[in-house]
Symmetry: D3
Subunit: 202 residues, 6 copies
């Protein structure tokens, strides 16, 4: 915690002054073009990997970069997506998964989270991704982690398309949905190609 | 979107090489000490304002930096908090609100979101903060935005303490909960002081 | 009711004897190949329009031929789909909407069901279809009924793909999802063509 | 699937022409007198066993002919019942269970569906029927299948009476609720007699 | 509050000594025969009106003496009923409504609670009672308060019978359900007579 | 049951006449100052232990004197609290736990209620109390029953503070929340002291 407080002081003394103009310009409101949905994982910094500045990315983060399918029940993702699309009118939504994801590992090994009732239920939103890979290979081992993670990105893109604001703006081409797979070790990002129905390196 | 892709390329070509060692060291797992909960607002970059590096902050973000009170129902926040506390064993949880928050403005003016069913229900988790300020002053105007935002941070800290893992670790002093109010325009951060029951400037 | 009881007697006296062998063969179990999801509307008889016999179609019917997106909450559709796919191992799922659908009319005119709390909430599962058509034309009139109905079939197909058993079997091509639009007046059926992304007459 | 498409063509070429007048008369709206709730089982054809024509039965079907008790939560059955009673003003509701029901078998053997999370939860709506029979006999074997199925019909009739529109129209005798037990093998139907509190053969 | 503390002291000094033996005998466990469900109304004292002693009545109280129909969702009533019937094995359940009930008045005038979101939703569990009376008379005035209250008692008895433990024990006659209407002003109690389907004075 | 009916007659013949004036004065409405939340346990009589009269305590009772944290979902406690605070404008809320509580015992031994699905889920609202005590001592035995019960009272007080009406009235000091621990055997009551953060004997 002390390190954080020192960092905060450093930000105020050294970094903020450089960005003073931008921050003052942004003081009253935001106008981002992109909704960026990614995992809570501490190794991911969306602004760093896209070299974007404050004001550019509206960011939602949870364990597993999960978008629950739309339902009458309101949750943080459902509300934040509605806000981003209908109020901020973002034109792009990126769902960004990543290598070595603890949530995906847990989804592949439900027993490992049997004492974590909410993690277990939350990861049920990834179950279809795991089962798709398992059914294709007739078994599932740690080596399938990346494949499950990619399948999960596709699944969450499906889920996203059940949200009314997204479904209707896709129909009129006012919005685009993207799937990214970020490799922490190498910094590479593979992107989902709708036509080839597979991930390709940029 | 093109700007983002260029930024990504720049990250890979120019930034990643500098951090290569750190990213490779982090490739297999994470071990953050802090769970950082903040708003999805595009103007907030937690890693920037705390000058922290990848691997230090487990970050949850949603519209309004809301932590729903614990319930049998699982949501992204409930699951991510359980994961951070019970699996990653973070020792600090920071709830960081901010100036000029669109979610707080909407919570103060429910009519403005009447056509956004999920935003409206989600912001019901802030209702008590708004009503507390309103009841104190017998009315509510735009000038109370900061006061409502601060009251909301306190409210979400209350909510956090209903989550089993947090409640029990508070009892044994294994975890600490912090409330931050970040001013976008000036870079200042006020922190909630439990003993004085008010926010103080660091 | 008397007409029904007479019909039942007629069935037992005149129709059952003809089908006796088939019914006796089916007495112990069923093995349908198709899950047929359609509206409760009294004018639709799935066995009649497909000229299929008892034992061929596992049939789910509700107002609006709606498939709620998958969630942790269990409902009749979610359970029946799971049963059909995982226990009966059907290889085709048909979602069949129809002309002059009262549910679609109500979805287009929410005010007409404001005193019917459950109908109103249930039809929220069609909202995206209505909004897609409305957004495309910038307005919505009774003449868009067929377009909304078709869009709803596509939407429910999307919803269907969020159900784990369906998602994973689609990945391995063990199952196919079909969208039908049935015209009560003429008996015609248009089918959704995935490649052309539109309905075509058979 | 090919068989179905052929059947559809046969319907259009040979069957529809005979019914052309009826279908054209029904093209704009429906006015059924009966809400018929039955199992999704492929061996049941409500129109066949009641020899009724298109337009006579508003039909809801799910695995186990289940009517969840009324609650604030909206599901397909709750909404469809509300629609049938309040909009279509049906005067009769028939809950039709049947012999050799896979859902009832699963309700009696919960272990058989332990890998089917939604089926398991859905069948919890039948648990009381199973427990009533089990408690009466102090044990439960496959031989009790018909008894559980009948008890389930009575239970679902109880559930039905918790739905506001049904409860209030029963109070004014504007609606009647019926319980049918259909035997697939013989075509017989036993009906529940409220006064004798048992099923009797018609 | 001071009055309460004085009363507590009086209880300890003057009343407890008289009951010392009974309280000591009850110190380890309870074995009540009756589950008594009544309104939270401050004017009702179940032990007073039945002249029963500590240990005789397991008491559940909420605004409106409401028993939500059984569902997968767990609430206080659902759990407490399950506990009373399955653990304590009570043999009688009394649902006791009362004259001048604020909850019933609110159920009859939903507008009066439009700013009380939870009261409004909770009273939806009484809606059917109100609608039954309204439909019978074609209108509803304050004079129907007692009639709605009685109808509500019947409705909650219906709801009670959807709870598995109650349904199955009713089937084996191990439990009895009673409906009481208590008049605060006169101390009279009318009881529901199942055969006459109306309330009769004891 | 007969004993109860005799008690009721005795109340009407002997007790009511003494209180006639009070009951007639209360016939039209109530105006309690205190919301008293306690366990359904048959050994607790709130009016007896506080020597209070009809009209003084608005009483909510359920197994375990539990107050679920506030959520969008409405339950009996949520609605009754809203009614007591916003309509009746009570100025004190007492949460009263007690010695030898069956619900607390069950919360400490979840296996004992594994066949009671709703009791199990309901007691999940006490889980944090149990885990706090368990974590402090590194184990949990029957001897910790009182400690868990007290911790549960504190937990439910936390939950209570997430309810909007309570949170905002605490902010303006219009309401006070109290925690009581009642010992059935001795009649003693310990009260929670906010400043000392422990229970003290009155
Ligand atoms: Zn991750
Ligand atoms: Zn914000
Ligand atoms: Zn229809
Ligand atoms: Zn069946
Ligand atoms: Zn009352
Ligand atoms: Zn207790």
């Amino acid at each position: 915690m002390e390190k954080l407080l020192k960092g905060l002081k450093k930000f105020q003394d050294e970094v903020y002054p450089e960005h003073k103009d931008r921050f003052e310009a942004l003081a009253q409101s935001q106008d981002p073009d992109v909704l960026f949905i990614t995992c809570s994982d501490s190794r991911i910094d969306p602004n760093l990997i896209t070299q974007s500045e404050p004001g550019e990315l509206f960011i939602c983060r949870n364990a597993g970069n999960i978008v629950p399918p739309h339902s009458h029940e309101t949750g943080g993702m459902t509300a934040s997506i509605e806000y981003a699309v209908s109020v901020l009118k973002v034109r792009h939504i990126i769902i960004c998964g990543h290598s070595s994801c603890g949530a995906m590992k847990a989804a592949m090994n439900p027993l490992s989270v049997k004492r974590l009732p909410h993690v277990k239920v939350w990861l049920d939103h990834c179950r279809a991704a795991k089962e798709a890979v398992q059914q294709k290979h007739d078994h599932l081992t740690d080596e399938h982690l990346d494949e499950v993670t990619k399948q999960n990105i596709i699944l969450q893109m499906n889920h996203l398309k059940t949200h009314p604001a997204v479904f209707s703006k896709l129909h009129t081409s006012e919005i685009q949905v993207h799937g990214w797979m970020y490799d922490i070790k190498t910094g590479n990002v593979e992107m989902y190609d709708d036509k080839q129905t597979r991930f390709i390196t940029v």
